[in-house]
Symmetry: C2
Subunit: 200 residues, 2 copies
DNA sequence: GTAGAGCCTGGACAACTGTACCAGACGCCT
DNA sequence: AGGCGTCTGGTACAGTTGTCCAGGCTCTAC
C-alpha cells in the first residue's frame, strides 16, 4: 500500500471547485449552485464535483464554511485592537470593516445573508451560522471595550445590528458612495451619542 | 358582448393560488416555488397556476407584491401616531411592530429578507424592494418625529437599521422570548440614549 | 516491463421542472 | 333549449437536475 499523493481532502482541484462554488453563489445565490455550473466555472469535468464531494449539500456546506472562515478572519482583522483606542478610532475600525465587507466581491456579502436565511430553515446550517454570529459578536465586543465605551456589551450588540441592517440594505440596492456618504455619518452619530449620552 | 363575471384578476381561486404561493415561499424560500408545489398547497390542479399567471416569475412577482403590500400596511398601522407621543410610546410602537413582524407566520419575515437579497440580483424586483424600503422609512420617520426626538431623520435611519438587523438575526435563529428579553431592552437603550444624549 | 491501486471522466439514468395543449364542465345570456 | 365564454383537470414534452458507474488514465512497487 502506498500513501496517496493526492489525498482527497487537500487536492488542489478540490480547492478549485470550492472557490468556483463560492463564485457561483456570489453571482446567482445559493440556489443557483448546480454541479454543472460549478464544474464549468472551475473548468473541470462534471463528475469531479461529485467525486470530491459526497453530495451537493455537502459541497455547499463546505463552501459556506470556507466563506465564513474568511468573513470571520475579516472581522478579527478589523477588531483586533490595542487595549485603549479613541472613539474616533473605533468608528474608523467599524467603517473599515464595513468597507471590506462590501468591497470584496460584493457577492460574498449577499451570500452571507443568504446563508443566514437558509440557516433559519435548514437545521444542518445552524451550527455554521451560530459560529459566525459568535465570531462577529466577539469581535465587536472586543473593539467596543477597547474604546472604553459605557456598557460595552449592549453597545456591541446594538452597533452590530445596525451594521448588519445597513449592509443588508446595501446588498439590496448598492449605491455609489455608500460608506462615506451614508454609513460613516450615521455610525458616527450612533457611536458618539452612545459615548456621551450613556450613564457609565 | 358581456362583461365577464369572473374577471381573471379577481377570481377567488387566483387569490388562493397567491396565498398558497406565499405559504410555499415562507416554508422553503423563493426558489422552492414550483407550479406543482403551489398547486398542491392551494388544492388546485397544476394547470390552474399557469392559467392564472403567465409564467412562474409573474406568479412570484405578484406574490411578493402582495406580501409587500401587507408588510407596508403593518408598518403604517404601527407607526401612524398622533402628533405628540412620549419616548416610551415610541419604544412601545416599535416593539409592537417588531412583534407583529415575527408573530405573523414567521415565514413572511424570512420571505421579506429573501426578496431584498433577490432584488440585489434581479432587476425586475428592484422597484418592489425600493417601494418597500421607502414605506418602511416613511413610517419610521413619522413616528420618530411624533416623539419629538432630536434629528429625527438620522434617528429613524439608525433605528430602522437596528430593527432590520435584529429581525434578521431572529429569522436566522428564532429564540424563545426574543421581543421582551432581547429586543425591547436594547431598543430602549438605543432610543433613550438618543433622546437624552443628542444635541438638539 | 507488468500489475495494481488510486485518480479522474464521459456518459447515462431517473426524477423533476416550466409550459403548452386539449377535451370537457360549468355558468350565464338570449 | 341552445350556445358561448370562463374555467378545470389530465396529460404530454423538452429541458435541467443530482447522482451513479464502468472504464480509462497515471503513477508506484516490484
Amino acid at each position: 500500500m502506498r500513501t496517496p499523493v493526492n489525498s482527497k481532502r487537500q487536492n488542489p482541484r478540490r480547492q478549485d471547485i470550492l472557490e468556483a462554488t463560492l463564485r457561483v453563489i456570489g453571482e446567482g445565490g445559493v440556489n443557483s449552485v448546480t454541479h454543472r455550473a460549478v464544474a464549468e466555472e472551475a473548468g473541470v469535468s462534471l463528475a469531479s464535483t461529485t467525486y470530491y464531494f459526497d453530495s451537493k449539500s455537502a459541497l455547499i456546506e463546505e463552501a459556506l464554511d470556507l466563506m465564513i472562515a474568511r468573513s470571520t478572519e475579516c472581522v478579527r482583522e478589523h477588531t483586533a485592537a490595542p487595549p485603549k483606542i479613541s472613539t474616533e478610532e473605533l468608528i474608523d475600525r467599524i467603517v473599515a470593516f464595513a468597507d471590506a465587507q462590501i468591497s470584496d466581491p460584493q457577492a460574498f456579502l449577499t451570500a452571507q445573508y443568504e446563508l443566514m436565511l437558509e440557516a433559519g430553515r435548514e437545521e444542518y446550517l445552524r451550527p455554521l451560522a451560530r459560529r459566525w454570529t459568535i465570531a462577529y459578536m466577539d469581535g465587536f465586543s472586543q473593539v467596543v471595550e477597547s474604546a472604553g465605551l459605557p456598557r460595552p456589551k449592549e453597545a456591541a450588540e446594538i452597533f452590530m445590528k445596525f451594521v448588519e441592517g445597513a449592509l443588508l440594505d446595501y446588498a439590496m440596492t448598492p449605491t455609489g458612495d455608500f460608506i462615506e456618504a451614508y454609513f460613516r455619518p450615521l455610525l458616527t452619530d450612533l457611536v458618539t451619542v452612545w459615548a456621551k449620552g450613556t450613564p457609565g
